[in-house]
């Protein structure tokens, strides 16, 4: 699964710390599956399915 690194609160790009993602703007935190663990964001990150096809990794944006 791929994540869109865009905070669901007000759209700031997230920073990666270990297996967590944090928003530098108001401190929302997300787990590596995209779930919110800390507000003010209230919904999870946008995720995209991936497939590994013959050594190629494909991210579906649909």
């Amino acid at each position: 699964m791929a994540l869109l690194m865009r905070c669901t609160h007000q759209g700031t790009e997230l920073q990666v710390f270990g297996d967590k993602l944090q928003c530098p703007a108001h401190g929302s935190k997300f787990a590596n599956n995209g779930d919110v663990t800390n507000g003010p964001a209230s919904s999870g990150l946008r995720t995209f399915p991936i497939v590994i096809d013959n050594q190629q990794l494909k991210v579906s944006l649909k």
Binding site: Q10, E13, F17, G18, D19, P40
Partner: protein, 406 residues
């Protein structure tokens, strides 16, 4: 999925354009063509590729409106309507690992406009980020975490705004970083910035008053150097504690090479913590700070050389369910306890305690239709003693407010 993979995927996502039908157009961006002339062999690259580019500038903010009815010693101030503040927040990713973040605050209907925060952050490593600009000094927890909608109370803590003085930001540079391992997180911040001036002991309040320094419009250009630093430790199940310090010379000790006074320092220590109790889900957060100032001996003891104070908020969610059209609405019952001693110590002559302390208790009920908006009703009861510890003046009343991110 391991972290490496995760980052790799994110990287792929951000750098590759994959043309598929029915893709949300917000994710796509046309590549600019930088040359009009191309050879036939270039044609293959010259197609209108679609790219996932840098995120656009994000724009947001929050605002606060209050109604209050307070009285001191039985004398009412009547109904007061206050549009306390409107804060605009602009951020953008300049390029990979380089970000711009800013926060501009309009207070009192626009009479006071301040850049609270405006920084360029360059991420070298997760543990090593460079930040430059107008930074928020990391003293205590409230100064940096002051967004209205995050709190259950209409007023900012007295110790954090009148003593410390939030929101304190200065022009400066520094480093910060974080490190995660399983349930633990360690973070640090350290900055060199512009700092305080002698107005902290010569101001209309006639007491040692750190916020006086913020009146000086020149503080972003010149003045004394302030060092500030904070380390924080967080555990997912126990909570977070932070220890912070800021200090530096505050007076003008020389001018044009002529020594006017010795260097006089200001030092501030603070501790903060927050935790959520298991099962009950009670959220507790607080901070306590100690201020030490080298006040010239020629000053009367009215100007304290030591101050201390803090607050603690206890927030108990009592209802968490669908209310009207809001699926995850919450109702909280909370209480804030505050204390500030503006002048710690005893009088030299009489050995009696120097008064000037204040305490306040503020029960609250708040309703959050979503995490980002709060409607809150507070009752304040506070008690302020003058310097001679005469019977205190009592303030009491109701405050109702709305605060929301937008």
């Amino acid at each position: 999925m391991s972290l490496k993979q995760l980052q790799f995927l994110i990287f792929i996502l951000l750098s590759n354009g994959i043309v598929l039908a029915q893709i949300d157009s917000a994710l796509l961006k046309k590549v600019q063509q930088d040359t009009a002339i191309g050879m036939n062999m270039d044609a293959v690259y010259n197609r209108p590729f679609i790219d996932v580019g840098k995120f656009p500038v994000s724009l947001g903010g929050y605002m606060e409106v209050n109604w209050q009815h307070l009285g001191t010693d039985g004398i009412s101030e009547g109904h007061q309507f206050q549009a306390r503040r409107l804060t605009l927040f602009v951020a953008s990713s300049i390029s990979k690992k380089i970000k711009f973040l800013s926060e501009i605050e309009f207070e009192e209907g626009g009479k006071e406009i301040a850049i609270e925060f405006a920084s360029i952050d360059v991420e070298l490593l997760p543990l090593l980020n460079l930040r430059g600009g107008i930074i928020m000094n990391p003293i205590g927890a409230f100064n940096q975490n002051h967004d209205g909608p995050k709190w259950e109370f209409t007023d900012r803590p007295i110790s954090a705004t009148q003593m410390l003085p939030a929101t304190l930001s200065n022009a400066g540079f520094g480093l910060y970083g974080k490190y995660y391992s399983k349930d633990w997180m360690f973070g640090y911040e350290t900055y060199l910035s512009s700092g305080f001036d002698s107005s902290i002991i010569s101001n209309p309040e006639n007491k040692t008053f750190l916020p006086a320094s913020k009146e000086n419009a020149e503080r972003f250009e010149e003045g004394n150097t302030l060092f500030s630093a904070k380390i924080g430790l967080l555990n997912n199940s126990y909570g977070e504690i932070g220890v912070s310090y800021m200090g530096g010379v505050y007076n003008t000790f020389e001018e044009d090479g002529i020594v006017l006074d010795k260097k006089r320092r200001l030092d501030v220590f603070a501790v903060d913590f927050n935790t959520t109790l298991p099962k009950l889900n009670t959220f507790i957060t607080g901070e306590w700070a100690w201020v030490k100032i080298d006040v010239p001996a020629t000053f009367t003891q009215q100007f304290g050389n030591k101050q201390q104070g803090g607050f603690i908020d206890i927030v108990q969610p009592v209802l968490k369910r669908k209310i009207l059209d809001w699926d995850k609405a919450v109702v909280n019952l909370s209480c804030r306890l505050e204390y500030v001693d503006w002048n710690v110590g005893k009088f030299n002559e009489t050995n009696g305690n120097i008064g000037e302390d204040l305490w306040s208790i503020m029960p609250a009920i708040s309703f959050r239709p979503t995490q980002q908006t709060v409607i809150r009703l507070n009752y304040r009861y506070s008690n302020q003693k003058d310097i001679l510890s005469n019977p205190p003046s009592k303030t009491a009343g109701f405050i109702l407010g709305i605060s929301s991110y937008f």
